[in-house]
Protein backbone atom coordinates (compact mmCIF):
# COMPACT_ATOMS: atom_id res chain seq x y z
CA UNK A 1 0.00 0.00 0.00
CA UNK A 2 2.46 2.62 1.20
CA UNK A 3 5.12 1.28 -1.14
CA UNK A 4 2.86 1.71 -4.17
CA UNK A 5 1.82 5.13 -2.91
CA UNK A 6 5.47 6.07 -2.61
CA UNK A 7 6.30 4.87 -6.08
CA UNK A 8 3.27 6.77 -7.41
CA UNK A 9 4.60 9.93 -5.77
CA UNK A 10 8.02 9.27 -7.23
CA UNK A 11 6.42 8.92 -10.65
CA UNK A 12 4.64 12.22 -10.15
CA UNK A 13 7.90 13.96 -9.35
CA UNK A 14 10.12 12.16 -11.81
CA UNK A 15 9.49 14.39 -14.87
CA UNK A 16 10.15 17.55 -12.87
CA UNK A 17 13.33 16.06 -11.37
CA UNK A 18 14.55 15.09 -14.83
CA UNK A 19 13.98 18.59 -16.17
CA UNK A 20 15.89 19.98 -13.19
CA UNK A 21 18.82 17.64 -13.73
CA UNK A 22 18.88 18.44 -17.44
CA UNK A 23 18.87 22.18 -16.64
CA UNK A 24 21.91 21.79 -14.39
CA UNK A 25 23.77 19.68 -16.94
CA UNK A 26 23.01 22.23 -19.64
CA UNK A 27 24.17 25.07 -17.42
CA UNK A 28 27.37 23.34 -16.33
CA UNK A 29 28.57 21.73 -19.60
CA UNK A 30 26.26 22.09 -22.56
CA UNK A 31 26.08 25.88 -22.74
CA UNK A 32 29.76 26.73 -21.99
CA UNK A 33 31.43 23.75 -23.78
CA UNK A 34 29.11 22.89 -26.64
CA UNK A 35 27.31 26.14 -27.43
CA UNK A 36 30.30 28.24 -26.28
CA UNK A 37 28.27 30.71 -24.26
CA UNK A 38 30.67 33.34 -22.87
CA UNK A 39 31.31 33.78 -19.15
CA UNK A 40 29.88 37.33 -19.12
CA UNK A 41 26.61 35.98 -20.52
CA UNK A 42 26.30 33.04 -18.17
CA UNK A 43 29.09 31.72 -15.92
CA UNK A 44 29.37 28.01 -15.29
CA UNK A 45 27.06 26.56 -12.63
CA UNK A 46 29.97 25.31 -10.52
CA UNK A 47 31.60 28.75 -10.61
CA UNK A 48 28.36 30.41 -9.45
CA UNK A 49 27.97 27.86 -6.68
CA UNK A 50 31.50 28.26 -5.36
CA UNK A 51 31.17 32.05 -5.39
CA UNK A 52 27.85 31.64 -3.65
CA UNK A 53 29.54 29.55 -0.98
CA UNK A 54 32.49 31.89 -0.50
CA UNK A 55 30.40 35.06 -0.34
CA UNK A 56 27.41 33.52 1.38
CA UNK A 57 27.42 35.70 4.48
CA UNK A 58 27.52 39.02 2.60
CA UNK A 59 25.03 37.69 0.03
CA UNK A 60 22.54 36.63 2.67
CA UNK A 61 23.01 39.87 4.60
CA UNK A 62 22.14 41.73 1.40
CA UNK A 63 19.27 39.35 0.68
CA UNK A 64 17.85 39.84 4.15
CA UNK A 65 18.16 43.63 3.82
CA UNK A 66 16.21 43.66 0.56
CA UNK A 67 13.79 40.97 1.71
CA UNK A 68 12.76 43.13 4.66
CA UNK A 69 11.99 45.98 2.25
CA UNK A 70 9.99 43.66 0.00
CA UNK A 71 8.11 42.21 2.96
CA UNK A 72 7.37 45.69 4.30
CA UNK A 73 6.01 46.74 0.92
CA UNK A 74 4.01 43.53 0.60
CA UNK A 75 2.36 43.94 4.01
CA UNK A 76 1.74 47.66 3.56
CA UNK A 77 0.42 47.39 -0.01
CA UNK A 78 -1.77 44.32 0.54
CA UNK A 79 -3.32 45.53 3.79
CA UNK A 80 -4.22 48.98 2.45
CA UNK A 81 -5.58 47.34 -0.72
CA UNK A 82 -7.73 44.97 1.33
CA UNK A 83 -9.12 47.79 3.45
CA UNK A 84 -9.63 49.89 0.34
CA UNK A 85 -11.56 47.07 -1.31
CA UNK A 86 -13.79 46.73 1.76
CA UNK A 87 -14.59 50.45 1.61
CA UNK A 88 -15.28 50.37 -2.13
CA UNK A 89 -17.49 47.29 -1.82
CA UNK A 90 -19.43 48.81 1.06
CA UNK A 91 -20.14 52.14 -0.68
CA UNK A 92 -20.97 51.03 -4.20
CA UNK A 93 -21.16 54.48 -5.89
CA UNK A 94 -17.65 55.17 -4.64
CA UNK A 95 -16.56 51.78 -5.95
CA UNK A 96 -18.10 52.46 -9.36
CA UNK A 97 -16.29 55.80 -9.48
CA UNK A 98 -12.88 54.41 -8.50
CA UNK A 99 -12.81 50.93 -10.07
CA UNK A 100 -12.06 51.95 -13.69
CA UNK A 101 -8.98 53.83 -12.50
CA UNK A 102 -7.87 50.94 -10.33
CA UNK A 103 -8.17 48.57 -13.30
CA UNK A 104 -6.27 51.03 -15.49
CA UNK A 105 -3.58 51.45 -12.82
CA UNK A 106 -3.32 47.67 -12.64
CA UNK A 107 -2.32 47.67 -16.31
CA UNK A 108 0.40 50.32 -16.18
CA UNK A 109 4.05 49.38 -15.48
CA UNK A 110 4.28 50.81 -11.98
CA UNK A 111 7.90 49.71 -11.71
CA UNK A 112 8.66 52.71 -13.96
CA UNK A 113 8.02 54.86 -10.88
CA UNK A 114 10.97 53.34 -8.98
CA UNK A 115 13.33 56.29 -9.70
CA UNK A 116 10.56 58.64 -8.57
CA UNK A 117 10.08 56.96 -5.17
CA UNK A 118 13.86 57.04 -4.80
CA UNK A 119 13.66 60.80 -5.32
CA UNK A 120 10.74 61.15 -2.92
CA UNK A 121 12.09 59.18 0.02
CA UNK A 122 15.83 59.31 -0.59
CA UNK A 123 18.06 56.72 -2.24
CA UNK A 124 19.30 55.23 1.02
CA UNK A 125 16.01 55.18 2.89
CA UNK A 126 14.32 51.77 2.94
CA UNK A 127 11.04 53.62 2.45
CA UNK A 128 11.79 54.32 -1.20
CA UNK A 129 11.82 50.54 -1.83
CA UNK A 130 9.00 49.75 0.57
CA UNK A 131 6.74 52.25 -1.14
CA UNK A 132 7.43 51.08 -4.70
CA UNK A 133 6.83 47.46 -3.58
CA UNK A 134 3.65 48.50 -1.80
CA UNK A 135 2.31 50.34 -4.84
CA UNK A 136 3.11 47.32 -7.02
CA UNK A 137 1.17 45.05 -4.66
CA UNK A 138 -1.71 47.45 -4.15
CA UNK A 139 -3.62 47.33 -7.42
CA UNK A 140 -3.85 43.60 -8.12
CA UNK A 141 -4.95 42.99 -4.52
CA UNK A 142 -7.48 45.84 -4.65
CA UNK A 143 -9.04 44.72 -7.93
CA UNK A 144 -9.17 41.02 -7.04
CA UNK A 145 -10.48 41.54 -3.53
CA UNK A 146 -13.17 43.84 -4.82
CA UNK A 147 -14.15 41.25 -7.39
CA UNK A 148 -14.31 38.61 -4.67
CA UNK A 149 -16.35 40.77 -2.32
CA UNK A 150 -18.91 41.51 -5.02
CA UNK A 151 -19.14 38.06 -6.61
CA UNK A 152 -21.60 36.79 -4.02
CA UNK A 153 -24.66 34.95 -5.35
CA UNK A 154 -27.84 37.02 -4.97
CA UNK A 155 -29.54 34.14 -3.11
CA UNK A 156 -26.78 34.24 -0.51
CA UNK A 157 -27.60 37.86 0.16
CA UNK A 158 -31.35 37.21 0.16
CA UNK A 159 -30.80 34.48 2.72
CA UNK A 160 -28.87 36.85 4.96
CA UNK A 161 -31.55 39.47 4.42
CA UNK A 162 -34.16 37.01 5.58
CA UNK A 163 -32.21 36.76 8.84
CA UNK A 164 -32.37 40.56 9.13
CA UNK A 165 -28.57 40.70 8.84
CA UNK A 166 -26.82 44.06 8.96
CA UNK A 167 -24.27 45.11 6.32
CA UNK A 168 -21.45 44.42 8.77
CA UNK A 169 -22.75 40.91 9.42
CA UNK A 170 -23.09 40.26 5.68
CA UNK A 171 -19.47 41.32 5.18
CA UNK A 172 -18.18 39.23 8.01
CA UNK A 173 -20.16 36.10 7.28
CA UNK A 174 -20.57 36.09 3.51
CA UNK A 175 -18.61 38.64 1.52
CA UNK A 176 -15.21 38.30 3.16
CA UNK A 177 -15.18 34.47 3.18
CA UNK A 178 -16.33 34.48 -0.46
CA UNK A 179 -13.50 36.83 -1.37
CA UNK A 180 -10.70 34.85 0.29
CA UNK A 181 -9.85 32.59 -2.68
CA UNK A 182 -9.63 35.74 -4.84
CA UNK A 183 -7.51 37.47 -2.20
CA UNK A 184 -4.99 34.64 -2.07
CA UNK A 185 -4.71 34.53 -5.84
CA UNK A 186 -3.82 38.22 -5.69
CA UNK A 187 -1.43 37.76 -2.74
CA UNK A 188 0.53 35.17 -4.70
CA UNK A 189 0.92 37.65 -7.54
CA UNK A 190 1.75 40.45 -5.08
CA UNK A 191 4.51 38.61 -3.21
CA UNK A 192 6.40 38.13 -6.48
CA UNK A 193 5.85 41.78 -7.37
CA UNK A 194 7.12 42.94 -3.98
CA UNK A 195 10.49 41.23 -4.53
CA UNK A 196 10.68 42.70 -8.02
CA UNK A 197 9.90 46.15 -6.63
CA UNK A 198 12.59 46.00 -3.95
CA UNK A 199 15.33 44.62 -6.22
CA UNK A 200 14.56 46.84 -9.20
CA UNK A 201 14.24 49.81 -6.84
CA UNK A 202 17.85 49.11 -5.82
CA UNK A 203 18.97 49.25 -9.45
CA UNK A 204 18.21 52.94 -9.43
CA UNK A 205 20.37 53.42 -6.37
CA UNK A 206 20.33 52.36 -2.74
CA UNK A 207 22.37 51.19 0.22
CA UNK A 208 25.48 49.15 -0.67
CA UNK A 209 24.16 46.33 1.52
CA UNK A 210 21.09 45.97 -0.71
CA UNK A 211 20.86 42.96 -3.00
CA UNK A 212 19.89 44.89 -6.13
CA UNK A 213 22.84 47.27 -5.66
CA UNK A 214 25.20 44.32 -5.27
CA UNK A 215 23.91 42.68 -8.45
CA UNK A 216 24.35 45.90 -10.36
CA UNK A 217 27.83 46.72 -9.07
CA UNK A 218 29.04 43.13 -9.54
CA UNK A 219 28.04 43.29 -13.19
CA UNK A 220 29.74 46.68 -13.53
CA UNK A 221 32.94 45.16 -12.08
CA UNK A 222 32.67 42.06 -14.33
CA UNK A 223 32.14 39.87 -11.26
CA UNK A 224 29.48 37.88 -13.05
CA UNK A 225 29.64 34.90 -10.68
CA UNK A 226 28.74 37.18 -7.77
CA UNK A 227 25.89 38.75 -9.73
CA UNK A 228 24.45 35.33 -10.53
CA UNK A 229 24.88 34.14 -6.96
CA UNK A 230 22.98 37.24 -5.79
CA UNK A 231 20.23 36.52 -8.29
CA UNK A 232 20.10 33.00 -6.84
CA UNK A 233 19.62 34.49 -3.37
CA UNK A 234 16.83 36.74 -4.66
CA UNK A 235 15.17 33.69 -6.23
CA UNK A 236 15.42 31.64 -3.04
CA UNK A 237 13.88 34.45 -1.00
CA UNK A 238 11.14 35.04 -3.59
CA UNK A 239 10.26 31.35 -3.65
CA UNK A 240 10.27 31.23 0.16
CA UNK A 241 7.84 34.15 0.33
CA UNK A 242 5.61 32.60 -2.32
CA UNK A 243 5.71 29.28 -0.50
CA UNK A 244 4.64 30.95 2.76
CA UNK A 245 1.70 32.62 1.05
CA UNK A 246 0.70 29.34 -0.60
CA UNK A 247 0.91 27.59 2.78
CA UNK A 248 -1.22 30.28 4.41
CA UNK A 249 -3.71 29.79 1.60
CA UNK A 250 -3.96 26.07 2.32
CA UNK A 251 -4.53 26.80 6.00
CA UNK A 252 -7.05 29.61 5.56
CA UNK A 253 -8.99 28.48 2.48
CA UNK A 254 -8.69 24.77 3.10
CA UNK A 255 -12.49 24.60 2.95
CA UNK A 256 -12.50 25.63 -0.69
CA UNK A 257 -13.89 23.04 -3.14
CA UNK A 258 -10.70 23.37 -5.19
CA UNK A 259 -8.91 21.38 -2.49
CA UNK A 260 -11.12 18.40 -3.21
CA UNK A 261 -9.04 17.19 -6.13
CA UNK A 262 -6.19 16.52 -3.73
CA UNK A 263 -8.24 13.98 -1.84
CA UNK A 264 -8.67 10.43 -3.00
Amino acid sequence: MTATALSRRAQDWLPAALVFAFGLVAWQWLLPDVVHVQRFLLPRFSAVMSTFWIERSSLFAAGWFTFKEALGGFVLGCSTAFIGALVLARWKPLGRAVLPYAIAANAIPIIAFAPITNAWFGLLSPWSKIVISAVLCFFPVLVNTLRGLTSVRPESLELMRSYAASEAQIFRRVRIPTSLPFVFTALKVACVLSMIGAVVGDYFGGSTTALGVQIQSSVALSRYETAWAAILVASILGIALYGSVALAERLVVGWHPSTREHRE
Partner: protein
Protein backbone atom coordinates in the same frame (compact mmCIF):
# COMPACT_ATOMS: atom_id res chain seq x y z
CA UNK B 1 -59.27 36.61 9.80
CA UNK B 2 -57.36 36.96 13.01
CA UNK B 3 -55.94 33.44 12.97
CA UNK B 4 -54.28 33.70 9.58
CA UNK B 5 -50.49 33.58 9.49
CA UNK B 6 -50.22 35.19 6.08
CA UNK B 7 -52.66 37.74 4.79
CA UNK B 8 -52.08 38.98 1.25
CA UNK B 9 -54.43 41.62 -0.11
CA UNK B 10 -54.50 43.31 -3.47
CA UNK B 11 -50.84 42.47 -4.07
CA UNK B 12 -49.40 43.62 -7.40
CA UNK B 13 -45.85 43.72 -8.61
CA UNK B 14 -44.65 45.39 -11.79
CA UNK B 15 -41.01 45.28 -12.79
CA UNK B 16 -40.78 48.78 -14.22
CA UNK B 17 -37.52 48.33 -16.10
CA UNK B 18 -38.65 45.21 -17.91
CA UNK B 19 -42.26 46.48 -18.08
CA UNK B 20 -43.57 43.15 -16.77
CA UNK B 21 -46.57 42.79 -14.52
CA UNK B 22 -45.49 39.74 -12.57
CA UNK B 23 -48.38 39.77 -10.07
CA UNK B 24 -51.78 41.35 -10.49
CA UNK B 25 -54.12 41.92 -7.56
CA UNK B 26 -53.44 38.76 -5.57
CA UNK B 27 -55.37 38.17 -2.38
CA UNK B 28 -54.84 35.12 -0.25
CA UNK B 29 -55.25 34.12 3.39
CA UNK B 30 -53.12 31.34 4.81
CA UNK B 31 -54.03 29.93 8.19
CA UNK B 32 -51.97 28.51 11.04
CA UNK B 33 -50.30 25.16 10.19
CA UNK B 34 -51.39 25.18 6.57
CA UNK B 35 -49.23 23.76 3.83
CA UNK B 36 -49.98 25.77 0.72
CA UNK B 37 -48.47 24.98 -2.67
CA UNK B 38 -48.21 27.49 -5.49
CA UNK B 39 -48.33 25.96 -8.94
CA UNK B 40 -48.55 27.56 -12.36
CA UNK B 41 -46.80 27.93 -15.70
CA UNK B 42 -43.23 29.12 -15.75
CA UNK B 43 -42.97 32.89 -15.37
CA UNK B 44 -46.40 33.31 -13.77
CA UNK B 45 -44.91 34.96 -10.71
CA UNK B 46 -44.69 32.18 -8.12
CA UNK B 47 -41.19 33.11 -7.04
CA UNK B 48 -42.10 36.78 -7.05
CA UNK B 49 -45.10 36.11 -4.81
CA UNK B 50 -42.92 34.13 -2.42
CA UNK B 51 -40.32 36.91 -2.41
CA UNK B 52 -42.96 39.54 -1.75
CA UNK B 53 -44.19 37.54 1.26
CA UNK B 54 -40.59 37.29 2.46
CA UNK B 55 -40.00 41.03 1.97
CA UNK B 56 -37.24 40.35 -0.56
CA UNK B 57 -39.07 42.26 -3.30
CA UNK B 58 -41.09 45.38 -2.68
CA UNK B 59 -44.70 45.12 -3.91
CA UNK B 60 -45.96 47.81 -6.29
CA UNK B 61 -49.38 47.82 -4.65
CA UNK B 62 -51.22 45.96 -1.91
CA UNK B 63 -49.95 44.58 1.33
CA UNK B 64 -48.62 41.44 2.94
CA UNK B 65 -49.07 40.77 6.63
CA UNK B 66 -47.40 37.95 8.50
CA UNK B 67 -48.55 37.13 12.01
CA UNK B 68 -50.54 40.37 11.92
CA UNK B 69 -47.39 42.43 11.20
CA UNK B 70 -46.23 44.02 7.96
CA UNK B 71 -43.86 41.75 6.03
CA UNK B 72 -40.84 43.94 6.82
CA UNK B 73 -41.45 43.78 10.56
CA UNK B 74 -41.89 40.01 10.35
CA UNK B 75 -38.60 39.67 8.47
CA UNK B 76 -36.77 41.75 11.05
CA UNK B 77 -38.33 39.59 13.76
CA UNK B 78 -36.98 36.44 12.12
CA UNK B 79 -40.37 34.94 11.30
CA UNK B 80 -39.26 33.31 8.03
CA UNK B 81 -37.19 30.40 6.96
CA UNK B 82 -36.31 30.31 3.28
CA UNK B 83 -35.27 27.42 1.04
CA UNK B 84 -34.24 28.13 -2.54
CA UNK B 85 -34.25 25.83 -5.55
CA UNK B 86 -30.46 25.52 -5.48
CA UNK B 87 -29.19 24.90 -1.95
CA UNK B 88 -27.57 28.14 -0.82
CA UNK B 89 -24.90 26.79 1.50
CA UNK B 90 -21.64 28.40 2.49
CA UNK B 91 -18.66 26.32 1.38
CA UNK B 92 -16.47 27.53 4.24
CA UNK B 93 -18.93 26.31 6.83
CA UNK B 94 -19.43 22.68 7.77
CA UNK B 95 -22.89 21.13 7.68
CA UNK B 96 -23.32 21.81 11.40
CA UNK B 97 -22.19 25.42 11.05
CA UNK B 98 -24.45 25.99 8.05
CA UNK B 99 -27.42 24.82 10.04
CA UNK B 100 -26.34 26.99 12.98
CA UNK B 101 -26.08 30.16 10.89
CA UNK B 102 -29.57 31.55 11.62
CA UNK B 103 -29.17 30.59 15.27
CA UNK B 104 -25.96 32.64 15.41
CA UNK B 105 -27.76 35.54 13.80
CA UNK B 106 -30.50 35.29 16.41
CA UNK B 107 -27.91 35.37 19.16
CA UNK B 108 -28.46 31.89 20.57
CA UNK B 109 -25.71 30.82 22.94
CA UNK B 110 -23.35 28.01 21.99
CA UNK B 111 -24.84 25.25 24.07
CA UNK B 112 -28.32 25.90 22.72
CA UNK B 113 -27.00 26.03 19.15
CA UNK B 114 -25.15 22.74 19.49
CA UNK B 115 -28.20 21.02 20.95
CA UNK B 116 -30.51 22.29 18.22
CA UNK B 117 -28.10 21.43 15.42
CA UNK B 118 -27.83 17.89 16.73
CA UNK B 119 -31.60 17.62 16.78
CA UNK B 120 -31.97 18.98 13.22
CA UNK B 121 -29.20 16.80 11.81
CA UNK B 122 -31.05 13.78 13.10
CA UNK B 123 -34.39 15.00 11.78
CA UNK B 124 -33.04 15.27 8.24
CA UNK B 125 -31.05 12.05 8.57
CA UNK B 126 -27.58 13.54 8.20
CA UNK B 127 -26.01 12.24 11.41
CA UNK B 128 -22.31 11.60 10.80
CA UNK B 129 -22.01 14.35 8.21
CA UNK B 130 -21.86 17.28 10.65
CA UNK B 131 -18.23 18.06 9.89
CA UNK B 132 -18.45 17.70 6.12
CA UNK B 133 -18.36 20.69 3.85
CA UNK B 134 -21.32 21.20 1.49
CA UNK B 135 -19.35 20.24 -1.61
CA UNK B 136 -18.65 16.86 -0.09
CA UNK B 137 -22.38 16.05 -0.11
CA UNK B 138 -24.76 14.98 -2.87
CA UNK B 139 -27.35 17.44 -4.19
CA UNK B 140 -30.13 15.81 -2.16
CA UNK B 141 -28.07 15.92 1.03
CA UNK B 142 -27.25 19.57 0.42
CA UNK B 143 -30.91 20.39 0.05
CA UNK B 144 -31.62 18.55 3.32
CA UNK B 145 -29.05 20.81 4.99
CA UNK B 146 -30.85 23.90 3.67
CA UNK B 147 -34.14 22.51 4.91
CA UNK B 148 -32.68 21.75 8.33
CA UNK B 149 -31.29 25.28 8.45
CA UNK B 150 -34.66 26.80 7.51
CA UNK B 151 -36.47 24.80 10.20
CA UNK B 152 -33.72 25.14 12.82
CA UNK B 153 -35.01 28.30 14.46
CA UNK B 154 -38.68 27.23 14.29
CA UNK B 155 -39.83 30.14 12.14
CA UNK B 156 -43.54 30.71 12.00
CA UNK B 157 -43.48 30.59 8.22
CA UNK B 158 -41.45 28.51 5.78
CA UNK B 159 -40.99 29.81 2.24
CA UNK B 160 -39.78 27.14 -0.16
CA UNK B 161 -39.11 27.87 -3.83
CA UNK B 162 -38.96 24.59 -5.77
CA UNK B 163 -36.64 23.05 -3.20
CA UNK B 164 -36.72 19.63 -4.84
CA UNK B 165 -36.83 20.84 -8.45
CA UNK B 166 -33.33 19.67 -9.29
CA UNK B 167 -33.58 16.24 -7.68
CA UNK B 168 -34.40 12.83 -9.12
CA UNK B 169 -37.84 11.34 -8.54
CA UNK B 170 -36.82 8.87 -5.82
CA UNK B 171 -34.89 11.39 -3.75
CA UNK B 172 -37.71 13.82 -4.21
CA UNK B 173 -40.33 11.45 -2.87
CA UNK B 174 -38.19 10.61 0.13
CA UNK B 175 -37.60 14.27 0.89
CA UNK B 176 -41.33 14.94 0.48
CA UNK B 177 -41.98 12.52 3.34
CA UNK B 178 -39.21 14.04 5.45
CA UNK B 179 -40.58 17.50 4.85
CA UNK B 180 -44.07 16.46 5.91
CA UNK B 181 -42.70 14.91 9.06
CA UNK B 182 -40.81 18.11 9.88
CA UNK B 183 -43.90 20.16 9.19
CA UNK B 184 -46.06 18.02 11.47
CA UNK B 185 -43.46 18.07 14.23
CA UNK B 186 -42.69 21.77 14.17
CA UNK B 187 -46.13 23.35 13.94
CA UNK B 188 -45.00 25.62 11.13
CA UNK B 189 -46.86 27.04 8.16
CA UNK B 190 -45.39 26.39 4.72
CA UNK B 191 -45.69 28.11 1.35
CA UNK B 192 -44.23 25.80 -1.25
CA UNK B 193 -43.60 26.52 -4.93
CA UNK B 194 -43.48 23.56 -7.26
CA UNK B 195 -43.84 22.56 -10.90
CA UNK B 196 -45.02 19.08 -10.04
CA UNK B 197 -48.78 18.56 -9.73
CA UNK B 198 -48.42 15.30 -7.84
CA UNK B 199 -45.94 16.81 -5.42
CA UNK B 200 -48.31 19.73 -4.77
CA UNK B 201 -51.24 17.40 -4.12
CA UNK B 202 -49.23 15.02 -1.97
CA UNK B 203 -47.81 17.70 0.31
CA UNK B 204 -50.47 20.35 0.61
CA UNK B 205 -53.54 21.21 2.53
CA UNK B 206 -54.38 23.62 -0.29
CA UNK B 207 -53.07 24.07 -3.81
CA UNK B 208 -53.13 27.58 -5.25
CA UNK B 209 -53.18 27.49 -9.05
CA UNK B 210 -51.83 30.57 -10.79
CA UNK B 211 -52.16 31.81 -14.35
CA UNK B 212 -49.59 33.77 -16.30
CA UNK B 213 -49.21 37.29 -17.63
CA UNK B 214 -50.30 38.88 -15.49
CA UNK B 215 -49.89 36.49 -12.58
CA UNK B 216 -53.23 35.83 -10.90
CA UNK B 217 -54.75 33.19 -8.68
CA UNK B 218 -56.93 31.21 -11.05
CA UNK B 219 -58.13 28.47 -8.70
CA UNK B 220 -57.71 27.14 -5.18
CA UNK B 221 -58.01 23.39 -4.68
CA UNK B 222 -58.40 22.19 -1.06
CA UNK B 223 -56.67 18.83 -0.56
CA UNK B 224 -58.65 16.62 1.80
CA UNK B 225 -56.30 13.65 1.87
CA UNK B 226 -55.95 12.39 5.44
CA UNK B 227 -52.88 13.18 7.57
CA UNK B 228 -50.27 11.91 8.08
CA UNK B 229 -49.56 11.15 4.46
CA UNK B 230 -47.51 8.13 3.53
CA UNK B 231 -46.01 6.61 0.43
CA UNK B 232 -49.29 4.71 0.00
CA UNK B 233 -51.21 7.98 -0.20
CA UNK B 234 -49.91 8.34 -3.73
CA UNK B 235 -51.85 5.22 -4.72
CA UNK B 236 -55.23 6.22 -3.38
CA UNK B 237 -58.07 6.94 -5.77
CA UNK B 238 -58.72 10.29 -4.09
CA UNK B 239 -55.10 11.30 -4.78
CA UNK B 240 -55.61 10.74 -8.51
CA UNK B 241 -58.89 12.64 -8.49
CA UNK B 242 -57.20 15.63 -6.90
CA UNK B 243 -54.27 15.45 -9.32
CA UNK B 244 -56.77 15.55 -12.19
CA UNK B 245 -58.60 18.45 -10.59
CA UNK B 246 -55.40 20.50 -10.22
CA UNK B 247 -54.31 19.61 -13.75
CA UNK B 248 -57.63 20.79 -15.17
CA UNK B 249 -57.47 24.01 -13.15
CA UNK B 250 -53.97 24.56 -14.45
CA UNK B 251 -55.06 24.09 -18.05
CA UNK B 252 -58.13 26.25 -17.60
CA UNK B 253 -55.89 29.00 -16.18
CA UNK B 254 -53.39 28.67 -18.98
CA UNK B 255 -55.97 28.27 -21.78
CA UNK B 256 -56.44 31.97 -22.37
CA UNK B 257 -52.66 32.22 -22.66
CA UNK B 258 -52.26 29.97 -25.68
Amino acid sequence: MSDSVVSISGLSKTFAKADITALDDISLEIGQREFVSLIGPSGCGKSTLLRAVGDIVEPTAGSVEVNGKPARRARLDGDYGIVFQAPVLYDWRTVAKNIALPLEMLGWDRARRVARVKEMVELVDLAGFEDHHPWQLSGGMQQRVSIARAFSFSPALLLMDEPFGALDEMTRERLNLELLRLWLETESTVIFVTHSISEAVFLSTRVVVMSARPGRVSAIVPIDLPQPRMAATREEARFFELVTEVREALHAGGADLA
